[in-house]
C-alpha cells in the first residue's frame, strides 16, 4: 500500500497534535449548544438532547467504520445492551448509577468482542451481514427473552432519579449532562484519532498484512477499536433511555442500525465533526422541517433518502468533507483494483534502464488493458471470465 494511495487515510495523524489546539473549538461548540438548550425548553430541548445522543451513535461509527474501516451494523445491539443492563442494575437492582456503569460497560465491551472477533477474519459485506445478524438476535433473544422477560416485557421504567441526584430531574440540568458527556467523548475520540493507537488502527485498516509484518497485532487492534466503538454506543443507549425515562427493546431495534449507518456516512466518517453533522441530519433537520414547512413524515423520508444518495454521489467523504477538505474522503474513494505499476521512465533515465514493457503499451489506457488482459488469462479456469474468453471464438463479443 503506497503512501500516496492511502496517505490521506491518516489525515488525522498527519500533523503533530496537541489536545489544547482543538479544545477551544470543541468547548466552543459544546457551550453554544448548551446555551441553545438553556434558551429553549420543552420540545426543542428534547430535540437538542436527541441530536447530541445520535451524534454519539454516529461517533461510534466514526471509530469502527471510519478509523478501522469495518462495517458494523451491531451498534443498536450495543446501545440496547447498555440501556437495558444499566436500567436493570439501577432501577431493579438498586445499585448506584456510577457503580453500575462499569459493570454495564464490561457487558457491552464483551458483546463488542463477540462481534469483533469474526472481524479479525471477515471484512466488508460479510461482517455487515454477521453484525446485522447479531443485532437482530440481540433484539429478539437477548433483549426480549433474557433481559426483559416477564414483568418488564414492555420496558423498564428508568427515570432520571436513577442518576442518584435530584439535581438531574431538571430538564436543563439533564441537557447539560448529555451535552457535556458527548462533547468530552468527542474530544477523546478526536485525540485518539491522532494518537499512537490511531496510527495502529489506520495501519490495520490500510493493510492488515503489512501492519502485521511491522509488528502490529491486528487482532488486538481491531478488538480494541470494536470495544471503544461499542462502549460509545452503549453510553449513547444509556443516555437515550434516561431521556425517554424508560428502557425498552423497541428503541434499539436492529433495523435502526441501517439508518444510523446511513446518517453517519452522510455526516462523514472520519472526523467527530461528521458525527455531529450526522446526528443533526438524522434527527434535528427532520424536526426543523416538520415544524417550519409543509413537509411531513414520509415526504421528508423520501427527501432525506435522496439527499443521502446525492451527498454520497457528489462527496463520498460526507458533509464533513465539505468543511474539512477532500483529505477526509480518504480510503472511501480509493480505487478498488489497480495493480502496482512502475512509473513511466523519463526519456533520459529510460535509456539507462531497459524497459520490461512491450512496445506499444506506453499510454495509460493501453497499459491498463494489457494488465487486464493478462489478468483475464490468469483467471481461474472455473471463472466466468475464462469461460467467456474461451468462447470468444464462437461468437463475436460486443
Amino acid at each position: 500500500m503506497s503512501a500516496t494511495r492511502h496517505g490521506n487515510g491518516t489525515a488525522l495523524a498527519a500533523k503533530p497534535f496537541r489536545v489544547t489546539s482543538i479544545l477551544p473549538w470543541y468547548l466552543g461548540v459544546g457551550a453554544a449548544v448548551t446555551a441553545l438548550s438553556l434558551l429553549t425548553s420543552g420540545y426543542w430541548a428534547y430535540v437538542i438532547d436527541t441530536v447530541a445522543i445520535f451524534s454519539l451513535v454516529a461517533l461510534s461509527f466514526v471509530v469502527v467504520s471510519g478509523y478501522l474501516g469495518q462495517m458494523s451494523l451491531a451498534q443498536t445491539a450495543f446501545m440496547g445492551l447498555g440501556a437495558l443492563v444499566q436500567a436493570r442494575l439501577v432501577a431493579i437492582g438498586h445499585l448506584p448509577f456510577l457503580m453500575a456503569l462499569p459493570i454495564t460497560l464490561v457487558v457491552v465491551a464483551s458483546a463488542a468482542v463477540v462481534v469483533g472477533l469474526p472481524a479479525v477474519r471477515l471484512r466488508g459485506v460479510n461482517l455487515a451481514i454477521l453484525s446485522f445478524g447479531f443485532a437482530v438476535v440481540a433484539e429478539r433473544v437477548i433483549f426480549q427473552k433474557w433481559l426483559l422477560s416477564g414483568l418488564y416485557l414492555s420496558g423498564i421504567p428508568f427515570g432520571r432519579n436513577g442518576l442518584g441526584s435530584a439535581w438531574f430531574e431538571n430538564e436543563q440540568h439533564f441537557s447539560l449532562l448529555v451535552i457535556s458527556t458527548v462533547t468530552a467523548l468527542m474530544v477523546v475520540i478526536r485525540a485518539l484519532g491522532s494518537s499512537r493507537w490511531g496510527l495502529l488502527v489506520y495501519s490495520v485498516r490500510d493493510g492488515q498484512a503489512t501492519a502485521a509484518l511491522s509488528g502490529v497485532n491486528p487482532t488486538r487492534v481491531k478488538l480494541s477499536a470494536f470495544v471503544v466503538s461499542g462502549c460509545l454506543a452503549g453510553i449513547a443507549g444509556i443516555l437515550y433511555a434516561l431521556l425517554l425515562q424508560r428502557a425498552g427493546w423497541e428503541d434499539y431495534s436492529a433495523f435502526n442500525s441501517i439508518t444510523y449507518l446511513a446518517m453517519s456516512v452522510v455526516g462523514g466518517l472520519l472526523h467527530p465533526l461528521g458525527a455531529l453533522l450526522g446526528g443533526m441530519m438524522y434527527f434535528g433537520v427532520p424536526q426543523l422541517f416538520s415544524t417550519v414547512s409543509f413537509l411531513r413524515g414520509s415526504q421528508f423520508q423520501v427527501l432525506s433518502g435522496l439527499l443521502a444518495v446525492a451527498v454520497l454521489v457528489l462527496r463520498p467523504g460526507g458533509l464533513a468533507s465539505l468543511a474539512l477538505g477532500r483529505r477526509y474522503e480518504l480510503h472511501l474513494v480509493a480505487p478498488r483494483r489497480r495493480p502496482h505499476r512502475p512509473p513511466l521512465p523519463s526519456p533520459a533515465s529510460g535509456a539507462a534502464r531497459p524497459s520490461p514493457r512491450p512496445a506499444g503499451a506506453v499510454n495509460g489506457q493501453g497499459r491498463r488493458e494489457m494488465d487486464a488482459l493478462r489478468r483475464s488469462c490468469q483467471a481461474p479456469t472455473a471463472s466466468a471470465l475464462a469461460t467467456l474468453r474461451s468462447r470468444t471464438g464462437e461468437r463475436p463479443v460486443r
Partner: protein, 290 residues
C-alpha cells in the same frame, strides 16, 4: 408422521426464504453489492400489484406491469444512474448509498400507501392436500416457481453468454472490458435482474407472510443467513439452504426445550457457520475486490 408434517410445513416456509435469497445472491453475484433495497422494492411492488388488482386489472397484467416498472425501471435507475456514479467508492459508501436509496423507496411506499394493503395471491386461493398437510395452491405454485427460477438462473449464469458476461464484469471489470464487453450496460442489466427478482419475490411472498416485509428484520436475517450458507454464489443452493433452514426451524422449534424459546438464534448460528466454512466449502474462486 408428526415429524414428516412438521418438516413439510417447514419446507413450505423455507421456500420463501430461498426465493428472496435467490434475488439477493443474483444481485451480489452480478454487482458485488448487497442489495439492502430488496425488501423496500419488494414491498412497493407488492402494494402496487395489490392496488392494481383491486382496481380491476387482470392479475397477469398487473404482475407484468409492476415487474417492468419496479424491476426493469427501478433496476436501471439504481444501477445505471446511481450506483454507476459511486463505482470507485469503497464498499462502505456503496452500501450507504443503497441504504439511502432504501430509505427513499420506503418513503415513497409510505407516501403512496399509508396503510397496509392486502396483497392478493397470484395463483388463487384453492388448496391441495399433501398427506395430512394442506397447502394452498398459491403456496404450492410459489414452491414450483422458486425451484424453476433457481435452477433456471443457475443454468443461465453458468452457460448463457449474457449470464457469463454478468459474472465476468463482477469478477474483473477491466478484464471484462478488455474482452470487449460494455461493462456499464452489463452492470445496469445486473441491477435490473436483481430488482426484478426482488419485486417478484415481494409479490409472491407478501400474501403468505402478510404485512410489510420491509420491517420484518428477522425474515431478512434468515434470508441473509441462507445467502451466506450458499456462499453468495449459487442460486439453486440458496433455495436449498432456505428449505433446509425452514425444516430445521420447524423441527427444532417443535421439539420443545431450550431450542423452542431460543429458535431465533438459529439463523445467526448458521450465519457464523456459513461465514466460517464458506471459504472451505466453496473456495475463493472470485478474486477479492481489493
Amino acid at each position: 408422521m408428526r415429524t414428516v408434517s412438521l418438516l413439510l410445513a417447514g419446507a413450505a416456509t423455507g421456500v420463501l426464504y430461498g426465493l428472496i435469497a435467490v434475488g439477493i445472491v443474483v444481485t451480489y453475484l452480478t454487482t458485488r453489492t448487497l442489495n439492502f433495497a430488496a425488501g423496500a422494492v419488494a414491498t412497493l411492488a407488492a402494494f402496487t400489484f395489490g392496488t392494481w388488482v383491486q382496481d380491476g386489472w387482470p392479475k397477469i397484467l398487473a404482475l407484468l406491469a409492476s415487474l417492468v416498472l419496479f424491476g426493469v425501471g427501478g433496476g436501471y435507475l439504481t444501477g445505471g444512474v446511481v450506483m454507476s456514479r459511486v463505482r470507485t467508492a469503497s464498499e462502505t459508501v456503496r452500501v450507504a448509498v443503497i441504504l439511502g436509496w432504501t430509505l427513499g423507496i420506503a418513503g415513497v411506499t409510505a407516501l403512496l400507501y399509508n396503510t397496509l394493503l392486502p396483497v392478493p395471491a397470484l395463483f388463487g386461493e384453492g388448496s391441495i392436500a399433501v398427506g395430512r398437510i394442506r397447502l394452498t395452491s398459491h403456496q404450492f405454485a410459489v414452491a414450483v416457481t422458486s425451484v424453476l427460477l433457481a435452477v433456471g438462473l443457475s443454468i443461465f449464469l453458468r452457460r448463457a453468454w449474457l449470464g457469463l458476461a454478468l459474472r465476468a464484469v463482477a469478477e474483473d471489470r477491466d478484464a471484462a472490458r478488455a474482452l470487449g464487453l460494455q461493462v456499464g450496460r452489463v452492470e445496469a442489466f445486473g441491477w435490473m435482474c436483481g430488482m426484478t427478482l426482488a419485486a417478484l419475490g415481494g409479490i409472491l411472498v407478501s400474501p403468505l407472510v402478510g404485512g410489510d416485509i420491509r420491517t420484518q428484520n428477522l425474515l431478512f436475517v434468515k434470508v441473509l443467513a441462507v445467502s451466506v450458507l450458499a456462499g453468495m454464489e449459487r442460486p439453486w443452493l440458496a433455495l436449498a439452504a432456505g428449505v433446509a433452514l425452514g425444516m430445521a426451524e420447524a423441527y427444532l422449534g417443535g421439539s420443545g426445550g431450550a431450542w423452542t424459546t431460543n429458535i431465533d438464534l438459529l439463523p445467526f448460528l448458521l450465519m457464523i457457520v456459513g461465514l466460517a466454512l464458506g471459504p472451505v466449502l466453496y473456495g475463493n474462486r472470485t478474486r477479492e475486490a481489493h
